[in-house]
Subunit: 407 residues, 2 copies
């Protein structure tokens, strides 16, 4: 890929993505796949006057070794210095840039039970820090190609060709064209207009139906509101947490979900693929979850904690989004979630609650926002999906017809 | 390079290098050049029953960006969580494996003055932690090829060929053959025999001469002793800090160095090459240091602190060592220092003082051990080098003739 185009993309991530402010710290999380691009992002962050940029490198094969050899108690321990680093993050509120490139099934065969237990041990220690930063930090998830990921998508191509083709797909769906920053402003305006309309309806519940058997009703909080595209941190800084993004999303009310829903795309959860699965909900809770492949990972996922079996997000994405139109199944949530309607199990987003700036997290949860250590999107959209809104005053308003917007 | 051979090398580093003990933590410092080999080292460390292995990745281009854009005060600050991590290291005494592969002039053009000032700011905070761990940790420096480094050595070869050739050179000089662990035991026995002889002489000073103009006399501490090859930590664990190593070394007495010495190989100091230089000593202090190339880096180096202008090490290496015989100029101290006699400016090694186990660091320094934040080797050996020992009882004993051992 041409360096000038990559430079535009790096700038987009820094300026429109996290929107680095003068004097801020920035942390970049990256795999080893694209070090030269990572250096471009770091350079752009400094040019945006970041005080300090730190890169935290990751390497999937090491994750496998750690989970094979370490004891659960070692994996689950939060050392004092790690807690001290969390405290530092709470003080300085760094921008966080996640450059994802991992192999969708790169952790196949790991001991998911150990990883899950260790996460359950660490979470109570880390949770207070995470909550103190919630909605106060700017963050952005964007993608770069890894060889294994690219070969998964384009197995017929050589390594270099596959990586190049994945670059093209990432840049196209991320709107990296002549003036990406402007393209994102326009895109955000369109998403906002959709959300404004949805919020004007005062939706009490959404009813999903499709010919694959999906028939699910999900209840909303009266205080809930649809959001999409960029958002504002509690510090008042506008940022775009996902590049790309095509969704209008809301956090539903915990306890109000009835029916069955069929996944329409494979889900890569912590390096394990879960394929062809359905989930049945009763009183908001996932009471049945059955997968053709990856059953163990699915079961582990919804058992992570009490809230892991409840919904945290309903996102509306038309079947004709640029990502859907690319025709590529990315095996990566950042992309696949933006090619189809999806739900998320686990934690809800407090910033989808009206006037969240003046509510505590506890108040938001008392309104029905779900609380969990996980937040995992899974795709349910398809070309036959119809969605109706049942409004607070009892009307039925078509939202989606045949997989795309009905308005 | 064949995976089975690399596996042998990884095992050598883990078993003979740091000698990982059951339940120990291990930290691997590595550049991004050879991630698959790094994973092998991690795997071998776990197989040696390490409790936890952490890899700290480095990437030279980021170092350049940090030093260009960060302020000195940002670069020089030691955050609380970094100090907490140092405290953790003091508690658990992890094994440290340094896998070096950096481009010898990869930091060309950086602001050395900023880097030096920042290091001077950090050192007083970090020094107490470093001193608490001194001689208590097992550590090992070993090399893996980086593309830029390989191309510097073999510019006529393709990238892949150059890397392969550098692998060959590293593995040959590191004695990775049929049974490398056994080869290292034999090698250590030979080095120990040389040191025993040198120590039996009761050397008061060494007199270096060569036809390039070198004429230098360096005084020793009566308590000093020559060491070589593997050593024992204060916890009683035998380890090999350098792979490869060919030297018998001692820390001289601060204040006793008179004369002039000419470097015989380029020195890569913090990513900058210093070439064709000499240093003149008076009363132990470098009073004149002149380089054809890299003068600024040289001046900065010997001005880092008071002790940076005094000697911390005298190492004897014959001109017919396997590394010298390879005929390769590595532009890397780990190798070049083991192909020629060298001196080091800066910190002395307390473990070259007799009975150091029962002396404090302060006591060692009172005996004449130099104290500095730097320890930089520079090569002075050549085919015409003669070295005489003047013993405590006034005799002159030939140690080197024409660049190699005289006994």
């Amino acid at each position: 890929m041409k360096k000038t185009v990559l430079r535009e993309y790096a700038r987009l991530i820094v300026r429109s993505g996290v929107n680095v402010q003068k004097g801020q710290e920035v942390i970049v999380y990256a795999d080893l796949d694209q070090p030269e691009f990572v250096a471009m992002v770091v350079d752009e962050a400094y040019k945006a006057k970041a005080k300090k940029v730190t890169v935290e490198w990751d390497y999937q094969p090491l994750e496998k070794l750690h989970s094979r050899y370490q004891s659960v108690s070692t994996m689950g321990k939060v050392e004092d210095w790690v807690a001290a680093r969390q405290e530092h993050y709470c003080q300085v509120l760094p921008c966080r840039i996640h450059l994802i490139s991992e192999d969708p099934d790169g952790l196949k065969g790991v001991r998911t039970d150990k990883i899950a237990k260790a996460r359950q041990m660490r979470y109570p220690i880390l949770k207070p820090y995470l909550e103190r930063r919630e909605n106060r930090e700017q963050w952005c998830i964007a993608a770069v190609p890894g060889v294994a990921w690219a070969k998964k998508l384009f197995p017929e191509l050589s390594r270099n060709q596959a990586v190049e083709k994945l670059w093209e797909a990432i840049l196209y769906t991320s709107r990296v064209d002549a003036d990406p920053v402007k393209a994102w402003e326009e895109h955000n305006a369109r998403l906002k207009a959709r959300c404004d309309y949805l919020n004007s309806l005062r939706i009490a519940s959404l009813h999903y139906r499709a010919d694959n058997g999906t028939d699910l009703t999900v209840g909303m909080m009266p205080e809930g509101r649809f959001c999409g595209g960029g958002e504002k941190s509690l510090q008042g800084i506008f940022f775009n947490p996902n590049i790309p993004t095509e969704e209008c999303f809301v956090s539903p009310k915990r306890g109000l979900a009835e029916g069955i829903v069929y996944a329409t795309k494979p889900l890569s959860y912590q390096g394990q693929l879960i394929e062809n699965f359905y989930i049945r909900f009763e009183k908001g809770r996932a009471v049945e979850a059955v997968a053709e492949k990856g059953q163990e990972a699915l079961t582990t996922m919804i058992s992570m904690d009490e809230g892991a079996a409840y919904l945290g997000e309903c996102a509306l994405v038309p079947e004709d989004s640029p990502i859907a139109q690319s025709g590529i199944l990315f095996y990566n949530t950042l992309f696949d979630e933006n090619a189809a309607c999806h739900l998320a199990l686990g934690n809800g987003y407090a910033d989808t609650i009206d006037n969240f700036e003046n509510r505590t997290l506890e108040e938001c949860r008392a309104l029905g926002l779900n609380d969990s250590m996980i937040h995992v999107d899974f795709m349910i959209g398809c070309k036959t999906m119809d969605i109706d809104a049942i409004t607070e005053d009892g009307k039925t308003v078509p939202i989606f017809r045949k997989g795309t917007w009905a308005f």
